[in-house]
Symmetry: C2
Amino acid sequence: MKSSRVLQPIVQESTPSLIAAQLRGHIAEGALPPGAQLVEADIARELGVSRGPIREAIQRLTQEGLLVSIRNRGVFVAEFDDEDIRDIYEARTAVEKAAAGILADGDGARAGAELLRQVERMDAARAAGDDTAVSEADIAFHEKLVEMAASPRLSKMHATLLTETRMCLNRLQGRYDDESVRVEEHRGIAEAIRDGKRDLVMDRLDAHKDDAIARLLPIQGANSTAAS
Amino acid sequence: MKSSRVLQPIVQESTPSLIAAQLRGHIAEGALPPGAQLVEADIARELGVSRGPIREAIQRLTQEGLLVSIRNRGVFVAEFDDEDIRDIYEARTAVEKAAAGILADGDGARAGAELLRQVERMDAARAAGDDTAVSEADIAFHEKLVEMAASPRLSKMHATLLTETRMCLNRLQGRYDDESVRVEEHRGIAEAIRDGKRDLVMDRLDAHKDDAIARLLPIQGANSTAAS
DNA sequence: CGCGATATGATTGTCGACAACATAGTCGTC
DNA sequence: GACGACTATGTTGTCGACAATCATATCGCG
């Protein structure tokens, strides 16, 4: 495989990274639903590469917790039960509280303003009735929140949790009765950060978590595997 | 490779996992110091396996952030600058605060008692003058703290951060003037959890973080790579 | 003596093939 | 008819070899 393009110095993202990103996207948006099996050979043939890079990409996602691998059996898209959903949101909130704390210590006003801009985008999507866009804006808000904290490790952990969140959100497509509540929750968080009200930020992030869990759990399909 | 033991259903840890664990241990304890290069072929020959499993193990550690890989060049043990150290402790404290919060919501008394037992072990090591044992007990304390929260995701994130912490601690071997302070900090955290004093727990975890950073940063060898 | 092009060595990246393993279906026997 | 062993199939696990790439050292030239 030679590079046919001569003009274009360095854009070389490693092959496994590209494959992993692609698979991650499919999983996040539900094209690869929970429980689906991924076969190395099939993907390899489909992408026109050897099994090596595919294997590496799959292993990456496995370590992120998006795939579960069973020896000599196959790898499958992870399925989340009630306990997992609680755990995802618990962990995500932990990361975001830390990020918010860092923002509060720094230029909270600027960060809050930026987040409020995200909220406006979300509100516009809500007004337009575009559920998917609202969810995207929701994710973007949280992503921005952590990104602005400029902590590589928090960001990295958060990225994985956000993908899992996307998977969770897929199951409540079009199940929102009142999206305005959702928007206002985010606005409240952003304003609290802007105003430097530390305790209020933490309380609102916790409340946001509890709300999300309360919305997600009642949905059927949340099979609790924790049956001993 | 047949299982010679008949009694003992399933203990098959995959080969890459074993290799990764071994490498992780060497990195944590400093046998593989920061900056050291790992050559796939060498390790493969040394362990008597192909490059495939080694590659997989290395990739795992790379994703954990313990190794850095440079394309077509090699993989090296990660080196942490001041900013990284701050980040590690920031992220670790975030996880531990979340775990402590969960414990406080549950049976904080039992958790606090268990942690106090860990503190006693640490104090015994201090009294014996065994610096390494004190550090081990230190790590064990934090590990136990998060483990008791029973959150798979928090535990997973924490495990990586703990390995990084071990790497950091290696550089201040025998540099403690007053280990008793260190012990008392942990005792204070455990007691606050036991007594269910949520805010106090958070404050003490933050103070513990600040102290650790203050102890680590002044040490020479903490090169700030952040020179743009 | 300094500089650039070239040759060389080392390491990772990729590939195709084979081996090991687990499951599911089939057949024979009780 | 039910149970157990056996066979068949699919998937991952492992291996050895080759290709691509980068860093270093060497040589020729100005």
